[in-house]
Structures are given as structure tokens and as C-alpha cells.
């Protein structure tokens, strides 16, 4: 990725990249704005109005943040993060066990293959029946749906570690716990991260769906309420909020992955 050019060229290149990024976006938003101003439609409010309305919804009160920000925005984010964390840990633990032990893998593979084939959202009614309609149900549901992506990738990552690496740890009598944390998990981390990435997109989706079906707060709840009351501007604003949230999650994962897997990219670049 490092392009060696003269500093001036590089500066110009950066400028061109920026232009490529900003210009189409600005043109598109401006076009949308113009069309909606000259040809107003209740279904498609102007983009600036949507952004303003979102700002008003979240930061428009007397305090810095409105109650809506705490009640809905933060609730969704909190449930999503908690569910994601639990599901990721569970997925890594079970996935590692499956990857390391052939017996465990062969025993649970049919069950795992079947359970992960069930569209996660189809199990939501089941979770509601078993755990009720509270926040804990939503967190468990997100964790369940998220865990499969992490589990499958971890199992495949751990399973494909070169046998020599594992044997090396054994020969040098490295303590099993240390072997796990300094050989097995790092070697599988590129695959685990691939799973975590897919899972992050799923986490947001599952969080919203769980609020669509049954909730008293959250972004999904607000979205469905706005639709039910035909408040299209609010609806668009919450959709924008979800897009921004998705973007932030993506960016954060990129950043963490870049940090954690820097060694991996370097070692591959050499080959």
C-alpha cells in the first residue's frame, strides 16, 4: 500500500483522492436537495432537513443531549455492544474448542450447521417466548445471532493452524494457557477478525429487528413509530442515524483490525 513518490506528487495524490471522495457525495446530496425543493414529495424530504431534524432529535433539548438520545440512541448502542461482546466471546471460546479438538468438532458440527442455517431473526419469537420482552432478551438474542459468524470463523481459523506451530509449543513445554493465548489465538486472529467484521454488521441489524418486533425504546422502535404515525421526516432521520452508526462501527473495526493485525499484513507483504 505504501507508494513511494516525491512529496509533492504525494500531496497532489491525496488531494485528488479527497476530491474523488467528496465531490460525488456533494453532487449527489445537492441534486437530491434541488429535486426535493422544486418537486416536493412527502416520501422524500430534502437531505438537509433530514440531517437538521436528526440533530434536533438528538441534541436539540436544553441540555447537550436530549432524553431521546439517552433513551433510544444509547439504549440501542448499549444493547448492541453488550450482545456483540457476549456473542463474540462465546463464539471464540466454542470455536477454539471445535478447532482444537477433533472429537468436539465432529460431535457438534451437525448441530452447529443446522442451528446456523436457521435465519437468526426467525428465532426472535422463540426468544420472546422463553425470556420475555425485556432488555436481557434482546441482548441474548443479539449474542446468539452474532456468535455463529465468530464461531465458524474461529473454528476454521484454529483448525487450519499449521500442525508444526502447535507441536512446537508442546515440544518446548509451553503452558497450555500460554499456548492458547500466544500461539493458537494469534495464529487464528485474521480469520477471527473476518468473523467479527461480519458479526458487527449483523449485530446492528439484529438490534434493530429486536426493537421492531417488541420494544418500548431504541432506534428501531422510533423508526417503526415514526412510520406508523406517518412522520416521514423523523423516519428518514432515524434511518440516517442508523447509516451513521453503521459507518462508525465499520470505521472502528477497520482501525482495530489495522492495529491488531498489522503484523499479519507485514508478514504477508514480505511473501
Amino acid at each position: 500500500m505504501i507508494i513511494r513518490t516525491e512529496p509533492r506528487r504525494r500531496g497532489r495524490n491525496a488531494l485528488v483522492s479527497l476530491a474523488y471522495f467528496v465531490v460525488p457525495l456533494v453532487v449527489l446530496v445537492a441534486l437530491w436537495q434541488l429535486v426535493t425543493i422544486y418537486n416536493p414529495s412527502p416520501f422524500f424530504p430534502p437531505p438537509i432537513a433530514i440531517a437538521q431534524n436528526l440533530g434536533f432529535l438528538l441534541f436539540g433539548g436544553s441540555a447537550v443531549f436530549t432524553p431521546v438520545f439517552y433513551e433510544d440512541f444509547l439504549s440501542t448502542v448499549g444493547r448492541m455492544l453488550l450482545g456483540y461482546a457476549i456473542g463474540a466471546v462465546w463464539g471464540v471460546v466454542i470455536g477454539t474448542a471445535m478447532g482444537l479438538s477433533r472429537g468436539a468438532r465432529e460431535t457438534v458440527t451437525p448441530i452447529v450447521e443446522f442451528l446456523r442455517s436457521i435465519p437468526a431473526t426467525a428465532t426472535l419469537p422463540l426468544f420472546i417466548i422463553l425470556l420475555g420482552g425485556g432488555d436481557d432478551m434482546r441482548v441474548v438474542f443479539i449474542a446468539y445471532g452474532v456468535s455463529w459468524f465468530v464461531l465458524i470463523n474461529t473454528a476454521s481459523g484454529v483448525g487450519s493452524i499449521h500442525k508444526t506451530m502447535l507441536d512446537l509449543g508442546q515440544v518446548f513445554r509451553v503452558h497450555p494457557v500460554r499456548r492458547l493465548f500466544s500461539i493458537v489465538l494469534p495464529a487464528a486472529s485474521p480469520k477471527i477478525f473476518a468473523g467479527l467484521r461480519i458479526a458487527s454488521t449483523a449485530a446492528l441489524l439484529l438490534a434493530i429487528v429486536s426493537e421492531f418486533i417488541l420494544a418500548s425504546n431504541g432506534i428501531g422502535f422510533q423508526l417503526i413509530q415514526a412510520q406508523g404515525r406517518f412522520q416521514l421526516l423523523n423516519m428518514w432521520s432515524w434511518m440516517l442515524a442508523l447509516a451513521i452508526l453503521g459507518l462508525i462501527i465499520n470505521f472502528l473495526l477497520d482501525f482495530i483490525e489495522g492495529r491488531v493485525l498489522a503484523w499479519h499484513r507485514l508478514s504477508r507483504a514480505k511473501i
Partner: protein, 268 residues
């Protein structure tokens, strides 16, 4: 018997262990329900769920729901492939177009597809079109991006060679770029496939009124008695079977036609 011969990699111990795992779990679930550890009204015995899943096939309404889900899945995938593959090839071949569209794509892609449900529901009503719009929105990205990676991965010398042998630009796309990118496209289709099924069922679940397994589950849940809980569970199991069959078919297609390529082996 035929299953063991057609899947050559399954060793017999793996088969027995797998069977033991499934039977073990079934027994635990059955016992938990029958002994009353878990309220049987909430978690009916496993055997009852299986029986119900079989019996449901006798119900023409349920059969139509399953068919509706399957059709939405197939249409959604086909439209997504038809849209995403040419788009991916175009963006892969023309760098300025790729750079110019990146900002918009990066902004639109992270939107959870289900967030569009309220809007599309208002615009199109709860029908097949509504489902397809959302499903295609969800399925296009993985296919498009994998096509794009595949096109970028094509050996440039091969393309130049074909050009110097007098192959037209379109011919190069058809004879060199498309076959070389095909395994990548297949990977994209596999990823999109599981997303598509999830989104189809989710949309059915949220937007009542339309047909499908999701609608069936949501209708039965609304009744709230023990018998309909059983139907909810049985429908969920059926959705899982549908997903499993789709996964197996796609896995088979991938191995059968793209087994020569290393990118298709292993992993998600």
C-alpha cells in the same frame, strides 16, 4: 447409504460422533421439557416439535408460505446477481468510476437493510416487490465487492495478450475477466445467499400481511397458546432446514464448478 458415498470426506467416526451429538442434544431437550425443568408450554418436547414440523407440511397455507419464502429468495438472488456482477466488473475495470463511487457506496453499504423496511413498506405496500427491493439491497454488496476483487485480481498480462491477439474489449471481458473472476463471484454469491435468506424471513416477520415463513411465525405467535408455540418452533426448524438445503446446494455448486480454485476452499 447414498449420503455416505456422495460425501467422500466424511469418515465413519465423524459420522457416528455427529449422530451421537444430535441424538444427545435431542435427548437433553426432550428430558428438560418432559421432566418439567423448563416449562413444557414454553419449550415443548423435541419429539413434539419434530412431529409438528412434519405435520405442518400437510397444511396448504404453510406450504404456500414456504414456497413464498423460497421464491422471494430465488428472485432476490437472481436480481442481485444480474445487477451486481456487471456493476462489479464495470467498477473493477474503470478505476475513475470506482474511485468516484466509493464515497457513496461506503456510506450506503453499512445501512442495515431492515432499516429500509418502513420506507419501502409505505412506498410499495407489503408485497413481493417490497421484499425484493430490500433483499436485493442486502444481497448486492457482497456480490459486487467480490466481483470487483476478482476483476482486480485478473492477471493484466493475460488481458494484454488477448488484446494483442485481436480480441475485442467486450471479448476480453467475456473470455478472460469473467472466468478469472468467477470463483470470487461465487464466494460473493455464497455470502449473499445466507444474508438473503435472513433478510427475506426478517422482512416477512416485521411486515405482516405478506406471505412467507416469517409471516407464518408472526401470525402463530400472535395466537399465544401452546399449540401455536409448537407451530412457531416447527416453522423455525423448517426455516433452518431450508437454510441447510440452500447451503448444501451452494457448497456443492462451488465444489463442483470452482473446485480448481484455492479461494473457494474453507472458511466463510
Amino acid at each position: 447409504m447414498t449420503t455416505t458415498t456422495s460425501l467422500p470426506k466424511v469418515r465413519s467416526t465423524a459420522l457416528w460422533r455427529g449422530i451421537a451429538g444430535v441424538v444427545g442434544l435431542a435427548l437433553i431437550l426432550e428430558f428438560a421439557s418432559r421432566s418439567g425443568i423448563v416449562n413444557p408450554a414454553f419449550l415443548p418436547p423435541f419429539s413434539a416439535v419434530l412431529t409438528k414440523a412434519v405435520l405442518l407440511w400437510g397444511d396448504p397455507v404453510f406450504r404456500e408460505d414456504v414456497l413464498a419464502t423460497l421464491l422471494s429468495y430465488v428472485y432476490g438472488m437472481l436480481i442481485a446477481i444480474v445487477v451486481a456482477v456487471p456493476l462489479g466488473i464495470f467498477l473493477g475495470l474503470f478505476r475513475p468510476a470506482y474511485r468516484a463511487s466509493r464515497a457513496v457506496v461506503e456510506l450506503v453499504r453499512p445501512i442495515p437493510p431492515v432499516a429500509l423496511v418502513p420506507l419501502v413498506l409505505l412506498l410499495l405496500g407489503a408485497g413481493l416487490e417490497m421484499k425484493l427491493v430490500i433483499v436485493v439491497f442486502a444481497a448486492v454488496w457482497p456480490i459486487m465487492f467480490n466481483t470487483l476483487y476478482g476483476v482486480h485480481d485478473v492477471d493484466p498480462y493475460t488481458k494484454e495478450m488477448a488484446r494483442s491477439f485481436g480480441v475485442t474489449r467486450l471479448g476480453v471481458v467475456r473470455r478472460i475477466v469473467l472466468p478469472a473472476a468467477a470463483p470470487f463471484i461465487m464466494t460473493g454469491i455464497r455470502i449473499a445467499s445466507s444474508i438473503t435468506l435472513i433478510v427475506v424471513v426478517t422482512v416477512e416477520l416485521i411486515a405482516g400481511g405478506s406471505q412467507g415463513i416469517g409471516s407464518f411465525i408472526s401470525r402463530e405467535r400472535a395466537y399465544g397458546d401452546a399449540e401455536s408455540y409448537l407451530a412457531v418452533l416447527a416453522a423455525t426448524v423448517t426455516a433452518g432446514l431450508l437454510g441447510l438445503v440452500i447451503n448444501l446446494v451452494i457448497g456443492w455448486v462451488e465444489r463442483r464448478f470452482f473446485g480448481w480454485d484455492s479461494t473457494t476452499r474453507g472458511g466463510i
